[in-house]
């Protein structure tokens, strides 16, 4: 077997197979995460300052991505925008994911009335159009970052719940869960040890997709003027405030759109090409 081991690819040591497309996606996502974390330290200009005499300025040596409709530096605004877009979306997806998946597993394991009540309640929630729902909430309580996070989490809980419940119902019928049940195990143990480890892969992929939808919903809300309040702006808000530059092909409207596209596409590529575990065990 020595000759085979030698010819085997290098990454085999980790026991995972890695895909080039996945690596590319991970790099782009990683880049935006670093930008979001480091933004205050690396922005060339404070985001509120008007630094250009012209509006919708072109790409130049001083202003790498041109200027916006008030003559503010676009590079700084994009970098800071990453903070809002990523931060709010990640917070929402975590809240939606954790609560949706937990409720889904509880419904699947407990069954009966609990399942019925949870499923119908979340179905009802699901039936409200998401944009309309967020419009009403933001109009009622005003727009702030916590409100945005909670609203978007609530919108995406039913989806996460449905998905996790469907997976958990399948696992729940397996004999090993029956064995654990007649051993007298608690609900918490069943969730933690028997169900969750067996559905975590698809659930993570689903959360990745949901993250993309949340980014788009947040951008959409900001575009409607219901998102982050000025002078701060996430990418969706940047597109909206600079929409007047569209006839001039101003970088101020193109670049934030590209940023949204690059993040969502990269996340999609990453979750479609997550490293797969190599199941083969050499006879060592």
């Amino acid at each position: 077997m020595t000759s085979v081991a030698k010819s085997a690819p290098r990454h085999q040591r980790f026991g995972y197979r890695i895909n080039a497309v996945g690596v590319a996606g991970a790099l782009v996502v990683g880049f935006w995460i670093v930008v979001a974390l480091a933004a205050p330290a690396i922005v060339p200009h404070p985001i509120g300052d008007i630094v250009d005499t012209d509006y919708f300025g072109p790409i130049s040596r001083e202003l790498w991505l041109g200027s916006d409709y008030l003559g503010r530096d676009m590079t700084s605004r994009i970098l800071m925008g990453a903070r809002y877009t990523l931060g709010i979306s990640i917070a929402s997806v975590i809240i939606a994911g954790v609560s949706g998946v937990m409720l889904g597993m509880i419904a699947a394991i407990t069954g009966g009335v609990v399942d019925m009540v949870l499923s119908r309640f979340l179905d009802a929630l699901n039936s409200i159009p998401s944009k309309l729902f967020s419009l009403v909430v933001v109009a009622a309580v005003g727009s702030s970052i916590p409100v945005l996070i909670v609203t978007m989490a609530v919108i995406y809980i039913p989806g996460a719940f449905r998905f996790a419940r469907a997976l958990a119902v399948n696992i729940n019928t397996m004999d090993f869960v029956v064995v654990a049940r007649i051993r007298g195990e608690s609900l918490f143990y069943l969730i933690r040890a028997e169900i969750l480890p067996n559905i975590i892969g698809p659930v993570l992929v689903d959360l990745g997709l949901r993250f993309v939808f949340i980014v788009l919903l947040l951008s959409g809300l900001s575009f409607l003027g219901l998102g982050v309040k000025p002078p701060y702006a996430d990418w969706g808000a940047l597109v909206r405030e600079n929409i007047g530059g569209l006839p001039y092909a101003a970088p101020a409207v193109i670049v934030p759109s590209l940023a949204i596209a690059s993040l969502t596409i990269a996340v999609n590529l990453l979750i479609d090409n997550l490293p797969t575990k190599i199941r083969d065990r050499e006879n060592s």
Binding site: M1, M174, F176, V178, R279, D280
Partner: protein
């Protein structure tokens, strides 16, 4: 005599996902003469299905034919292009799958599926094909041959579907048939009928065939020649009679030994212990579905069954699929609460559902399921799986737990190095041992074994049975052993309960199995294939009985 099939130096390799290549078939030679049935026999993973598939020039995904020739009727299937192979498949070479239920499309009428091959290859007009199909249905002794083609696959029984799959394979007059364990999934009483039908059709059409199976007794009835395979190599080959009578290779002898049960008369336990009942089931009735107004569920699967297991003794429950034996096991274990009757364990009445039983009661009564694949959590290592009952029931700390896991692995004769493996990295037999070790970890008094050997090969199953007996001597266990395999039950049980359609119809001892009283038991016992090649031809079953008890 010229051979219809000549396989020379066949080699098949597979590539694992880390890029390692594994030889699956390591240079096999095989000849099949015209009109001859050759059986490929061996344990799972020995490459028997892989060889059979190469006859159609096919290798499963991830596998490759890397060397040798497979000449069928003078044409090398390995060298053919995919398009030319497709022209041969179904027309010259046909395939009868193991699970006909999975091979039929549930949304298309049977007749359309049976004559599909004719339509694809255009070998005869469709009207003629329909007439031929009806003739085949008749030849395969299917009921209502004129009308059965109009049904959908779910409207006929499993045995009928298997015969319909054979009709589908025969429709285009192939020269060679591949049978891939076609009766493994059937009940013994159904198997008799299907084997008879296969045999008569094969001899009527003088078709050559390859019969893949791990059941020597079945193969003895139908094959002219037997080829014994192991690890992708031919171990022994010869005429059926010779192999059965004078097996040379130790592995073949092992296979033969596994078929004939060696039940040493168990020492009768004398004194009061023999009389002391560990488990008593009193007129239990179990069903599925919502309760109707009269307090009975929509479907009653077990009706008024009573049984009794003495301390340290074994009770076998046999019957065909659907007779309620597994449902009864689930009721005893508290998975499915019975709607009438009660279970007394160790002198105390048990709660109907597991939730109403105490932790100690649950500990003392363990159940082991048929499919180790689904009974072991794929996300946990062997160590986790065995360690959990130790923590849960005995509150063991890390160190004693680890020592106990080693002990358990020794008990079920698994190497300690398997501790960190996950179920997917174990073989079928190893998984079933882990499954059993988990039940042992609870220190139970009674283990309910629900068909634990049916998914295993004969040799592996025999080893598991020996293990069970050995552990019983050491640990003073009692078993309730549920199976449709009579020889297994015979080998291990002190008493045998025969179930039919949810009722207990007879209780006998292994010694009395030669002369059962109930007609159904007689039918069931006479349907178990014997190694004698003339068994099927000489088998006489009372047609009245067959009509009364079989839904063929």
């Amino acid at each position: 005599m010229t051979s219809l099939v000549e396989i020379r130096e066949l080699r098949v390799e597979a590539t694992t996902d880390s890029g390692r290549t594994i030889a699956i078939i390591k240079g096999v030679d095989l000849d099949i003469a015209e009109g001859e049935i050759v059986a490929l026999i061996g344990e799972s993973g020995s490459g028997k299905t892989t060889i059979a598939m190469t006859l159609m020039g096919y290798a499963r995904a991830g596998c490759r034919i890397v060397g040798g020739t497979v000449a069928v009727d003078g044409v090398d299937m390995v060298a053919l292009s995919e398009k030319d192979r497709a022209a041969v498949r179904g027309a010259k070479i046909a395939y009868v799958p193991q699970s006909a239920a999975a091979a039929f499309n549930p949304a298309i009428r049977i007749m359309d599926q049976v004559i599909e091959v004719v339509r694809i290859h255009g070998v005869m007009p469709l009207e003629e094909a329909r007439a031929k199909a009806v003739a085949l249905f008749r030849a395969l002794s299917l009921p209502n041959p004129e009308m059965i083609g109009d049904r959908y696959p779910h409207q006929v029984s499993g045995g009928q579907l298997q015969r319909l799959a054979a009709a589908m394979a025969l429709i285009a007059n192939p020269k060679l048939l591949i049978f891939d364990e076609p009766t493994t999934a059937l009940d013994v009483t159904t198997q008799v009928e299907v084997l008879r039908a296969f045999k008569s059709v094969i001899s009527a059409h003088r078709i050559a065939g390859i019969y893949v199976s791990h059941d020597l007794a079945v193969v003895a009835q139908i094959a002219d020649r037997i080829v014994v395979l192991r690890n992708g190599e031919v171990q022994e080959s010869g005429a059926t009679r010779d192999i059965l009578a004078r097996a040379q290779h130790p592995y073949t002898q092992q296979l033969l030994a596994a078929v004939t049960p060696h039940h040493a008369p168990r020492p009768a336990v004398s004194g009061p212990t023999a009389a002391e009942a560990l488990l008593e089931v009193h007129e239990v009735s179990v069903g599925y579905g919502p309760l109707r107004s009269d307090g009975q569920p929509a479907i009653v699967a077990v009706e008024n069954v009573s049984l009794r297991v003495a301390r340290g003794r074994n009770l076998g429950i046999i019957g065909e699929s659907g007779c309620g034996k597994s449902t009864l096991a689930r009721a005893i274990a508290g998975i499915l609460p019975p709607f009438a009757g009660g279970v007394v364990f160790d002198g105390r009445e048990l709660g109907r559902s597991a939730r109403s039983r105490s932790a100690d009661q649950l500990r003392q009564l363990q159940i082991v399921f048929q499919h180790a694949d689904t009974a072991l959590n794929p996300a946990q290592t062997v160590e986790d799986i065995l360690g959990r009952p130790l923590t849960f029931y005995h509150g063991m700390a890390r160190k004693p737990r680890s020592a106990r896991i080693d002990q358990l692995l020794d008990m079920v004769k698994l190497p300690r190095s398997l501790r960190l493996r996950r179920p997917a990295e174990l073989s079928g037999g190893q998984k079933q041992r882990v499954n059993f070790a988990r039940a042992l970890a609870a220190d139970p008094k009674l283990i309910v074994c629900d068909e634990i050997t049916s998914a295993l090969d004969t040799v592996v199953a025999a080893a598991i049975i020996d293990l069970l007996k050995e552990l019983q001597r050491e640990l003073d266990l009692a078993y309730v052993f549920i199976s449709h395999d009579l020889s297994v039950v015979e080998a291990i049980c002190d008493d045998i309960v025969v179930m039919y359609r949810g009722r207990k119809i007879e209780q006998i001892t292994p010694e009395a199995m030669a002369r059962p009283e109930h007609p159904y038991t007689q039918l069931l016992l006479s349907s178990v294939p014997k190694l004698d090649p003339t068994w099927l031809d000489n088998l006489r079953q009372d047609p009245e009985q067959v009509r009364a008890y079989c839904q063929r």
